[in-house]
């Protein structure tokens, strides 16, 4: 091997290392837990017994997909019957909040943090939580970090030093069949508002399960959001053609068609 070749090879290796470091750094930056700077004052004003409640929902797509965690914060005491209602709105600054997911420890063991990344904060991030308002934050959990099926996960939201804890959510398996897995993936992508991904998954679902109504439905949702009314109507009609009768009339689908047809 010539010296020039060796020098060239070394340069490539160095470049690869540099790229790897940069990628890793970027990955870390993107995946870090959003947290306020030290000493940041949060604006939550709830008393020690917080009227706020937190709910966690985890959407599992196909195997290997990142999971989507939806964290909703609302004023539970403002929604209670009058005898115990605390109607005063609670101000909360979610931009400065710390969202943490954690898995349930074994008996007696502390909960273990579950790596997650905030994808979307409530809009606006600073809001007054009254009886009607619900602040929704979307996080993602890398597939590799997702606990085993059956494990329980909950969310912890630190609002101005006032830590709120959500319900426990059991990690469920992805759908058993390809169609269910792709439908789950599409829903998770829709929550993430990743329309391109939804479109791609919808087509994959239509290809994999042409008699399944859901592929056409997600295709319609994407087209509707992109303003393709005719395409959306066609997709929804295709959905109707494949829809099995249920306990409730698919009023939402008919109304979509009507709405787009006007």
């Amino acid at each position: 091997m010539s010296a020039a070749l060796r020098r060239s090879l070394a340069g490539v290796i160095l470049l690869a290392v540099a790229v790897a470091v940069a990628v890793a750094g970027f990955w870390w930056w993107r995946h870090r837990t959003v947290s306020p700077a030290a000493g940041t004052s949060l604006s939550a004003t709830q008393p020690a017994q917080s009227p706020l409640a937190v709910r966690l929902q985890i959407s599992i797509g196909a195997p290997g997909d990142d999971a989507v965690a939806t964290v909703r914060v609302f004023n539970a005491m403002a929604r209670q019957p009058e005898s115990i209602r605390a109607a005063a709105p609670v101000a909360a600054d979610f931009a400065a909040a710390i969202f943490t997911l954690e898995t349930e420890g074994a008996a007696g063991a502390a909960a273990a943090p579950l790596p997650s990344r905030v994808l979307r904060l409530p809009q606006p991030a600073t809001m007054s939580l009254d009886a009607a308002a619900t602040a929704t934050t979307v996080l993602t959990v890398a597939a590799a970090a997702l606990p085993l099926v059956g494990a329980r996960v909950r969310a912890r939201v630190d609002l101005g030093g006032n830590t709120l804890v959500s319900n426990w959510v059991e990690v469920v398996a992805a759908g058993a069949g390809v169609a269910d897995q792709l439908a789950g993936r599409a829903r998770a992508q829709l929550i993430r508002e990743a329309l391109d991904d939804v479109a791609q998954t919808a087509e994959a679902l239509i290809t994999a399960a042409p008699r399944d109504s859901r592929g056409y439905f997600y295709r319609g949702l994407v087209l509707e959001r992109r303003g393709d009314r005719a395409g959306a109507i066609a997709a929804y009609r295709a959905t109707l053609d494949r829809l099995s009768p249920g306990d409730e009339p698919p009023i939402g689908l008919y109304e979509r068609i009507k709405r787009l047809s006007r």
Binding site: Q49, A76, P249, I251, R256
Partner: protein, 713 residues
Amino acid sequence: MTLVRTIRAAAPLAIAVLTIGASASRPNAQTASPPPAENRWTGTASGEARRTGIGAYILPAVGTEPGGPANQSGDVVTSWTARIQLKEGQALSVKDATGNVVGRLVPLVDDGSTITLGISGRMSETNPYGDVAHWDYTGKDVAPEARIVSMGGGAFSGGWVYYSLTGSDPLKDILPNGSYSLLGQPVVFNGFSVRVTRISKGHPDQPHINTMRTGGNGSWVAGYALWTWSRLTPAERASKGFGDEGTSITADGVREALTATAVAMRRITAADPRTFVVASGAMAGSYRFVNDVSTLTATWNITRRVQIDGAITATDPAWRPKMLARTTLTASIPEAVGGTGKFRFTLFDVSREPGTTLNSGRGTGLDLRFADDQPVPMTAATETADGWTIETTSLAASASVSVTALDYGAWGRLKAEVNVDGEWYDCLAPDGKSSVTLPVDADENHIWDTWERNAGLTGHPATEDAEEEPVGGSKGDGFSNYEEYRGFTVHGTWVSTDPRTKDLFIFDEAGMGTGLANQTGLLLYLIEQDEMNSQRVVNFNRGTASAGAQKAIHLKDQGLDPGTLGLTKPRVGTPNQVREVLVDLLQLADETADQALESTIAHEIGHALSIDHHGDWTERSCRLGPKGLYAPWGGVLSGDRGCVMSYSGANYYTSWDGKCYTYTWPQSFGTAFCTTKTGTGLNAGAQHIENGHALPVSGDATYGNCIAQMRLK
């Protein structure tokens, strides 16, 4: 109420008379113990001293008899019968090493006893010369008279009795509860007559007779009788080293005195230094002493009569059990009775409801306990099978005790007793009962009376579940009156629910709210996940007077079939039957009609309350054309158009004329639950054709009147 009781005492024991060199105990004003008002001992005692032969009569009844004792013979009997009246004097509190009062030593002082002494018999003597003398004793005397006295100054000397006040009394090995001593030493001086007949051997027919006066006694001692302390005033005792200004003595001091006394007593003739103990309210006993020249017997039966008015205050009517809520009651010996005692409080029949509310906490421990910090010094509380007991550590005329609730439905009874001189007396409540309920609960159904009264449920069973508001397909909401009273934890807050209005619990897993479900008129409580169990049962901590398991509605966000905005599984049922209520928030996010989300949530919750659609629907088109939602006459679109359970959107409908029409009106969502089947809006009015459409669209509802269908159980 005045209780007049004879004492019922316990166990075995001894007698003592104390020569006290007691060490001073800690000053404690509460140990000053004036005697309870006029506690007395009354009864009888009798005995005799029969002396035979040599040395038969210990008193020099006839001066100096000739000859010597070796020639004496005969029997002389001194008998006595006493009517005894004793009064309890200034007691001494006996304290253990920690200063805790463990007993009371009460002197018994003569208070007008009377005694009859008699003497009879002949003593004969023959001297070495053959001369004979006979001493014939006769006589009878009755005290009190100046000539008859005792060491006590009256007809009877006195005694003492010991009352042990605690099971941990350090003197219990030698001085059981009720130990006593009695000392009778009446003496009569020259009250009897003795006829002396002297017969000279040489002149047997010329006896010399004269009469003399003589005396006698009726000594008897039961137990250990040393009385140097009993007649002392507290000040005099204090000067001798008694504690608490002469009102107390240490247990070690008592033990020391008893030990020393026992030795001395065994040397005393006419004493029986055994352990005598009050039994069945009486000092009753006897002894017999025999030696070569004497036979001594004594029998006594003396009963105590005590007047005690124990009382306990009524439970605070404003107190209801809540977690760590406390209330204080006071037991006392009324001033008219006077005196002091040791108080014992007993919590019994205490409830053991699981947890602390119907849906929080775990465990089935006792729901009431004595507070850790009591208003007066108390022993540590002792747990019993159904409650607790606790005692004061000092003597007092009254004592307050604080009780803490550990459950919002806690219930129990409290009784107070006061120990006056070893006997426990009930302290009666103002209503004359020997215990009070906690909380105030006249019908003892475990529900606080004030809550019942405010709810208009006085006299109703605790198990009743009969709400009629809002009206529906059945009464009640699945929770009994007691359960509504005991209450629930809702988002960490305790709430006692309204027994007049039906309550519904909802676990809103997505925080979506309950929408327009409040239009049912139900009281909707939003609970946390851990405020129901894994089977959705809200009253999982139910115990007393339950109406059975009642479940919460589990409201979830879930991806549903395309077009399906909400779904209930199963389609219609009660909260106990419907496993979950599903709403697809993603699909609803695109709905533009007013209150689409709120109405859909209410619609699905309605199904979980047994409310059905207004009528049927299908997706079979009534005309050729694309597949669409078809509403028959009286079907899913019928009835009240403003009802959340109706639908207002379809593709086709069949009207009153049996013909098929295209449905062209916009979708809208209902905002209330209907109370009739009558059609409104497009479903109301005269049948006619308008712009090519038959009206009304669907007419009155086949089902409808949704509120009337509503069932929670």
